[in-house]
Structures are given as structure tokens and as C-alpha cells.
């Protein structure tokens, strides 16, 4: 039997817009994944500690405030510091195309911008899991 994929949906920073994060959390859950949602205003440290503690396969972060260049790479950095190298980290939100290559270089496997269907995100996760599901 296939193991259930565990996902941490996280809102880093001070941004309060979580419609997207919640819709995606629910879509992932309806796709059979186990989803933990952090709630608002999480520091990168809190996100990493929740990810490790919950032993998730995927960390999915959402930012609409423009702080992504600062906060997304901080999460991958901290994961690396903890020796975690098998979590898939993805991001989404209002993120200019120009910023995406930099985020990818920092270890964000994919960036989903406004209008992305939840189906694409589900498929991406299934195809790109680092741990064997």
C-alpha cells in the first residue's frame, strides 16, 4: 500500500492573506495527502521546527507580501543546517517571474503564481517527492 504523503502548508512572515494557502491545503487533503497548516505569522525557524517535528515530506509555503526573497531561502537554509535534505520545498503567491530563478537556486523546487490550478500542484508534489512514497 502507498504511504500517505505528509505536507506542511506554511505562512511565513507577517502576511495575513491565507485564502490561497487554505484552498491548497484542502485540495491536497482531498487528493489523499495528510496536511498540517501552520496558521499565520510563522518565522522560518518555526516552520522548520514544525516540518522536522511532523516529519513531513513536503513544505509548501505561501507569501503575498513580497517578502519571499528573504523568507523562502531562509527556510531551505535552516533545513540544510539541520541536515534535512529529503524534504520537497515549494512556494507560491504573488511572486514576480524575475525572482523565480533565484528562489529555485536557493532550493525552492517550484514556485506557483496566481491562477495555478491546484491539480498542477498535486501532480508536481507526486512527481517530485524526494522520499519514496
Amino acid at each position: 500500500m502507498e504511504r500517505t504523503i505528509r505536507v506542511l502548508v506554511a505562512k511565513p512572515g507577517l502576511d495575513g492573506h491565507d485564502r490561497g494557502a487554505k484552498v491548497i491545503a484542502r485540495a491536497l487533503r482531498d487528493a489523499g495527502m495528510e496536511v498540517i497548516y501552520t496558521g499565520l505569522r510563522q518565522t522560518p525557524e518555526q516552520i522548520v521546527s514544525a516540518a522536522v517535528q511532523e516529519d513531513v515530506d513536503v513544505v509548501a509555503m505561501s507569501i503575498l507580501s513580497g517578502a519571499h526573497n528573504h523568507l523562502f531561502p531562509r527556510v531551505t537554509e535552516l533545513l540544510k543546517e539541520k541536515g534535512v535534505d529529503d524534504m520537497l520545498v515549494i512556494g507560491g503567491g504573488v511572486i514576480p517571474d524575475d525572482d523565480i530563478p533565484g528562489l529555485k537556486a536557493a532550493g525552492i523546487a517550484a514556485v506557483f503564481t496566481p491562477g495555478s490550478p491546484t491539480g498542477d500542484i498535486i501532480e508536481f508534489i507526486k512527481k517530485n517527492l524526494k522520499r519514496k512514497a
Partner: protein, 555 residues
């Protein structure tokens, strides 16, 4: 045969005929629904007017129940206030944008603050990193506020400030800047959002738990009714509830339920309803479904008027009339083919105007991608000006009144909103309903349904799930220089070195004592602001006293 009988007969004949032709040539869809997924009939006729009494339910502009508008001349007297929400980076940069907007014919200012300011952190706080100046202007102290309004006469403009948890602090700074310009508080016009309940459910910039938050709000009501009488002390907001995914009826219902909670709190604090209620204002969203949105605004006025009269016994007409600001719907803007957003905003503008708004912000076409550039802001403002000066929509009052469809939908939204309000009453009021997660769950369910309808193609979003094209990356987006954080931190360092720190300590100690007791906190905050205590320092005193709100996470 009476009129009704003959219409009924005619309708039955029409309906029988149409059923026959539909059997041969089916309509585009099996079921037609509004933007909020309410059923839409093929045809509305005078038969749908049954049960509505014109004098009781519709009435005249400027008269109870205000369905047709809150003033007796509406836009024939003057247009709505064209108020573009703006602010980014430093006070210097935002001051330039305000002056640009005023030159372009905007008639009121609307200040966007960055997230650290909205959550009561100074720019050099650890949690502010990466956020300074991003979604609005960074304001740390009165010194920034002086720059923000430099050269803008505060007795001549009206200013709306989107600030909630620390609304008292920013209002105090505004009063202090005005004083330095020689403008007394009684000459000030404007609005603070000051609506904490929708922060808990939809917008997220809360600081304190509900009970002390309600105290801060009622302190403002009491203070302003004496000292700043023309100020709108709150903007009870459905905008963000709708952005979070609610339906039109939920937007009306949850906003008015929040309004009821504020009025209840103020009355409990000993205020007379007709002393503060005239300064309550509202803020709604304008979506794409033109007729449903117009009906929503009309229904909202009627529901509020009834609540104020019947539940609270308000007497002043100003307490009964729901005045509102509108913003076009950010959530309807698409990152794909962004020029199409200009058209969406035009439809939404028309909805707000036909719905009788008192002021309006029109979104810019690039807002699904970034903060707007000057060019896109100009188009957004021009959209309002075209509707005002060229469309004819502002020449008569409430032009859609009497439309069988719009009147019927106004009744429906009123009914649905009143049913929700009754449910919330049953849960113990808006504060309790929020603490239980009821409001959040209702909004999230609607948001999820909408998203699934888009993904199944049942709901078409042009350029997103139909009529897509290959496009390159958008060019020329506005970017906020990340150096802003360092600049603000340097300013703070300098400020703390040169201000009278003894005076700061003294006023903060007085504020602490006030917060421990039950003094009105507004004058104490004003004292602290005037000696350049920072926003973060003031909020820290209150955090220590009041504690912080812990979000109820609902999925």
C-alpha cells in the same frame, strides 16, 4: 381580470412556449447562477415584486430604510470621493505618490501601511525583516508621519488609513501632524479602518485578543465624538471577507454582524448610540457580477437601517444610514493577460456607482503581479473619471431601482444576510462566532467551492481557464528597494539618540498605568506619540498588558 392576473397568464403562456423551444435548443447551461452561485431565473417580471412594499422596503433616497441611497441628491450633489489606496517604501516615496495622485484629480488620500506598521512592530524588529515598506509605507514614529504628509494641507484633504490593531496610534500621529500644521482636530476629515473582528477572520493583522481590542475601539469612539467629531472612527469591512472567498450575502451578513458587535460594545461602555453611530462607516467589495453587486449594496443599507432602528433604537438618521467605501475586487484580477483587468475594474466601478458608494478605490491592472506603477494607477483613476463624467450612471439616483431582477435580488440578499445574522446571534454574537471558527469555516467553504468551479471549468475566468495565450513575463513592474529596511532602521537609531528619552519613558509609564485601569487610552497615546515614542514601543506596552491574540486555525 386584474393586472396581476393578466401578467400571470401572459407569463404562463411565455413559459410554456419557452419550455418547448428549450427542449429543442437547450440553453447554454442547465443552471444559471450569480457570481456568488445563487440561482438566476430566466426572466424576472412584476410577479417577482409580490410581497415588496415600496414605501416600507425601498423608499426614497436619504430616507429610511435607505435602500436607494444615503443622501437625497446622491451624485447630483457631488460625485463619490475618488480615493486611491497607496503607500510603499518610505514616507518620502509615498509622499511623492500622494502628490502625484492629487495632481491627477484624486479627491481623497488612502494610506497603505506596511505589515510591520500594521502589526505594531518597528522596522528594526526581527519579525519585520523582509517586510519593511513592501505592502505599504513604513511608519515608525511621528517623524515618519510628518514626512508622509509634508506639503499636504490636512484641513483640505480627507485621509483614510488602513490601520486596525494600532489604529489609535496612527490616528494620534495624524492629529499630532495636523497640530504642527496649525490644523485643529475638529477640522480633520478621514477614516481609520479600526475593524479588528475582520482581522481575526480574514485579514490577519491582529495584535491583541478581542476584549482589549474592543476597548481600544470604543475608546476611539468616545474620544472622537468629542475631539475629532468629523472623523469616521471605524470602517466596518466586508471587503476582506469577500476577498477571502465569501459570497455576496455572507459579505453583507458578517460585516453587519461585526457592526452589531461594535455597537453593543460601545453601548456597554456607556456611550449613547446616537453619539457615536453617525461616525460608523463601512467598506465593501465590488465584484464582477454587476447586478448582484448593486443588489448587495442596496440590501446592506436596508439591513443596517433596520438593525440600528429596531435592535438599538437609534433615532438620528445619520445613525441609521450606512455610508460605505468600495474597492474593486483584487481577487478577480488575473496575472494572465493583465490588460483584461482594466475591463473587470470598469465593470466593478459601475457596480459600486450604481450601488451608491460614497468613495471608491479602483485597482490597477498589474495588482495580481506587484504593487501598481504610476501608469497603471492613472488608468485605474481614469476608469472612475470615465464612469463619473461619461457613462451617465451618476446623473440620476439609484437607476436600477425597479428592475424586477435587481429588486428581487436585493430582497434575496437581505433575507440571506438576516438569516446569517440570526445564526450568529444564536452563537452569542460575532465575537463568539469568530472564536468558535464559524465565520471562518463558512468563508473557507465558499472559497473552496469557487476554486473547484474554476478548475472544473464550470466557472470561466477569461485568460485563466479559457482563452489562454502564451505570454512572456510582464515588464516594468514596481519593485520596492530592499534597502528600505536598513534606511528605516538607521532613522530609528537617530531618533532614539536625539529625542527626549525621559519624556518617552514618562508617557509610556502613564500609558501602562492607563491600560491597567480603565482610562480612555487615546489621550495617553497622543502624549506618547508627541514626544516621538515609536509605534513599536507603544504597542509593546499594550502587548505586555493585554497579551496577544492566538489565531484559531481552521481548515
Amino acid at each position: 381580470m386584474s393586472d396581476t392576473d393578466s401578467i400571470k397568464k401572459g407569463f404562463e403562456a411565455y413559459d410554456a412556449g419557452v419550455e418547448k423551444s428549450v427542449a429543442r435548443f437547450p440553453e447554454r447551461k442547465k443552471a444559471f447562477v450569480t457570481g456568488s452561485k445563487s440561482p438566476v431565473k430566466r426572466l424576472y417580471t412584476p410577479l417577482d415584486d409580490a410581497g415588496r412594499d415600496y414605501a416600507r422596503d425601498v423608499g426614497f433616497p436619504g430616507e429610511y430604510p435607505y435602500t436607494r441611497g444615503v443622501q437625497n441628491t446622491m451624485y447630483r450633489g457631488r460625485f463619490w470621493t475618488m480615493r486611491q489606496y497607496a503607500g510603499f517604501s518610505t514616507a518620502e516615496e509615498s509622499n511623492k505618490r500622494y502628490k502625484f495622485l492629487l495632481e491627477q484629480g484624486t479627491t481623497g488620500l488612502s494610506v497603505a501601511f506596511d505589515l510591520p506598521t500594521q502589526i505594531g512592530y518597528d522596522s528594526d524588529h526581527a519579525l519585520s525583516q523582509g517586510e519593511v515598506g513592501k505592502v505599504g509605507v513604513a511608519i515608525d514614529s511621528l517623524a515618519d508621519m510628518e514626512i508622509l504628509f509634508d506639503g499636504i494641507p490636512l484641513d483640505k484633504v480627507s485621509t483614510s488609513m488602513t490601520i486596525n490593531a494600532p489604529a489609535s496610534v496612527l490616528l494620534a500621529m495624524y492629529i499630532a501632524v495636523a497640530e504642527k500644521q496649525g490644523v485643529t482636530p475638529d477640522k480633520l476629515n478621514g477614516t481609520i479602518q479600526n475593524d479588528i473582528l475582520k482581522e481575526y477572520v480574514a485579514r490577519g493583522t491582529y495584535i491583541f485578543p478581542p476584549s482589549p481590542s474592543m476597548r481600544l475601539i470604543t475608546d476611539i469612539f468616545a474620544y472622537c465624538s468629542k475631539e475629532v467629531p468629523a472623523w469616521n472612527t471605524i470602517s466596518i469591512s466586508g471587503y476582506h471577507i469577500r476577498e477571502a472567498g465569501s459570497t455576496a450575502s455572507q459579505e453583507v451578513a458578517f460585516t453587519i454582524a461585526d457592526g452589531i458587535a461594535y455597537v453593543d460594545a460601545a453601548i456597554k461602555a456607556g456611550l449613547d448610540v446616537d453619539d457615536f453611530a453617525p461616525r460608523l462607516s463601512f467598506f465593501f467589495n465590488a465584484h464582477n457580477d454587476l447586478f448582484e453587486e448593486v443588489a448587495k449594496f442596496r440590501a446592506a443599507r436596508r439591513v443596517w437601517a433596520k438593525v440600528m432602528k429596531e435592535r438599538f433604537g437609534a433615532k438620528s438618521p445619520k445613525s441609521l444610514s450606512l455610508r460605505f467605501h468600495t474597492q474593486t475586487a483584487g481577487s478577480t484580477l488575473t496575472a494572465q493577460q493583465p490588460d483584461n483587468n482594466i475591463v473587470r475594474v470598469a465593470i466593478q466601478t459601475l457596480a459600486a456607482v450604481l450601488g451608491g458608494t460614497q468613495s471608491l478605490h479602483t485597482n490597477s491592472k498589474d495588482e495580481a503581479l506587484a504593487l501598481p506603477t504610476e501608469d497603471s494607477v492613472r488608468i485605474a483613476l481614469r476608469t472612475q473619471q470615465i464612469v463619473a463624467y461619461e457613462s451617465g450612471a451618476a446623473e440620476t439616483i439609484d437607476p436600477l431601482a425597479g428592475s424586477y431582477y435587481v429588486e428581487s435580488m436585493t430582497d434575496r440578499i437581505q433575507k440571506e444576510a438576516e438569516a446569517y445574522i440570526a445564526t450568529i446571534d444564536g452563537l452569542g454574537g460575532a465575537v463568539k462566532a469568530i472564536e468558535k471558527g464559524y465565520v471562518q469555516q463558512e468563508i473557507q467553504d465558499a472559497a473552496y467551492t469557487y476554486q473547484m468551479d474554476v478548475e472544473s471549468g464550470e466557472r470561466v475566468v477569461v485568460g485563466v481557464n479559457k482563452f489562454q495565450i502564451e505570454e512572456g513575463s510582464p515588464k516594468g513592474l514596481l519593485r520596492v528597494d530592499p534597502i528600505v529596511g536598513e534606511m528605516q532602521a538607521a532613522k530609528l537609531k537617530e531618533l532614539r539618540a536625539k529625542r527626549d528619552n525621559k519624556a518617552v519613558e514618562k508617557t509610556l509609564a502613564a500609558l501602562k498605568a492607563g491600560a491597567e485601569g480603565d482610562a480612555n487610552l487615546m489621550p495617553l497615546i497622543l502624549d506618547a506619540v508627541k514626544v516621538y515614542a515609536t509605534l513599536g514601543e507603544i504597542c509593546d506596552v499594550l502587548r505586555a498588558e493585554f497579551g496577544e491574540y492566538q489565531q484559531k486555525v481552521i481548515l
